[in-house]
Amino acid sequence: MSKAKSQRNAQPNNTSEVHVASNWVAAWRRFRRNSLAMFGLVYFVFIVFVAVMAPVIAPYAYDAVDYAVTYQEPTWQHVLGTDYLGRDILSRLMWGARPMLLVGILTGLVGMVIGVPLGILAGYLGGAFDWFIQRLVDLFSALPWYLLVLYLVMVLSPSVMNLVLALSISSWVGSCRLVRGLTLSAREYDFVEAARALGIPTRQILFRHVLPQAAPLLLWGFASGIPGSVFAEAGLSYLGIGIRPPMPSWGQMLGQAGNYWMYYWHIFLFPSLCIVISVLAFQGLADGLRQAIDVNVNV
């Protein structure tokens, strides 16, 4: 016992690294058992591949108009059929993976860039700053996201970047609240108190001791935001205030189908399937992460 203790004292860094690594390994083991989560992971890799390789693997250009084959149901030339301008639906779906992923991932990242520092500072500093941040969080979580988004889209005019910006305005709240809670409890940890007693500057305590604690939770927080952003991008593009034509997006393809989709099933079925499968896969991924890292929070 005393030997083990002295060893640990001699090499504190090594043991803590082993401990951290084994945590991730155990988490991965739990993650792998969840079939929906694994489906989500495989789908994620697949859709990233499709999005990146779209110019190479898409059989047609996304804006190649062919009036001879408008509203064509699936054939060997056009595997998933063509739309009202005779454009190849499969190719447009492949290109449509790009805005979906861009908005889904960037919204989470921008949200974290805003939310994490605010959450850490609010939790660590407390007082008036914390009060102010809490009121902001209240404000943004009480409002429906689409209200803010519509407002900003109106003011800024629609584009991928403005969509990301508008969605981030409500997405930072989640990571801010998460990190604030963690920082509050981390502040009470013995090693943080010890670090403070040693005179280590606050900034260093926050980034070296507090933030690493939050890493797995942030990973989950990031993943759990993706389905919502995918949904938002599809919905807003469907309403005509998201991704601008001719660049395709799945939601926009649904919206463009206009009134004709009632008679042509292939125009709405394939984009719909893409949206549903993506939301489902990312939801499964986030759910698997939550189980794997054993998050115990109510959101």
Binding site: A142, Y151, V155
Partner: protein, 310 residues
Amino acid sequence: MLNYTLRRFSGILIMLLLLSFVTFVLSRTVPGGPFGKVEVPMGEKQLAQFKAKYGLDKPILEQYVTWLGQAVRLDFGTPFTAPEMTVTGLILKLLPYSALVGFLACMFALVVGIIIGMVSAAHQNSWLDNAIVTYSIVVGSIPSFVLGFILVYVFSAKLGWFPAGGWGGPKYLVLPVFAYGFPATAGVARWTRQCMVDVVSSDYVRTAYAKGLQRSQVMSKHVLRNALIPMVTSFLPMFPGMMTGSMFIETVFGLPGLGKQFTLASTNRDYPLVLGITIFWALLISMTYFLTDILYGVIDPRVRIMEKSS
């Protein structure tokens, strides 16, 4: 309790003020503005006249104070796109459509979701429970407008059972209510299961069983009553959320509701209308949160005690 109520109330007032100020300033400072997109180009003089008419030529802070003074009396001005009406009148005219569809969809989601969630919790970790958990993930992934498309294709275009859209008798409500309410059952079922499972695994429930109480007694007296608290507080805000209308559902089914109007107003840059609807929504939603908080204090004595000690 009074202290708690007052504190919550002032918090909401500050929030509303902040929101109205931010949205107001945003709407007045952006380039383009409501007169940037008109079909007939206006001369300098005409533009100045228009701006004077809507008070757009004064400093922003002055405009805001004027606007706020009127807004307190529920006067949000005249919509640019419907000059014959007032913003308040237009909101009140459109609200009943959205509210009816939203209320029915909400009730549908709650009834179906709570039943499913309770069945799931009662048979925790059985195949039925697993199936329901999977159901809640899959169904929760279906956007309502996608479901709307599929429903209209199958039940209107192919089978001809229901009208594809528009407003009329009860027949017109079936598809929109289902498309709106069905995806929402997933979240309700999930949360119900969560609340019930938390309580079922608590110590006092084990004690109740140990005392020799029947399962039905434990379920109704110990589990349900305690699980109801978090359920009520999270399901109540669903009503204003859904009753103010979904722009997706209203667009798919061509309903003359508030959500669709808001989309139109924002693409047309109809600032008075957008501001009015924003404040109206924020007011409604924050009032519900306020009531829920108060209700929370009434149902659960622990909240009051904790407030007192803090």
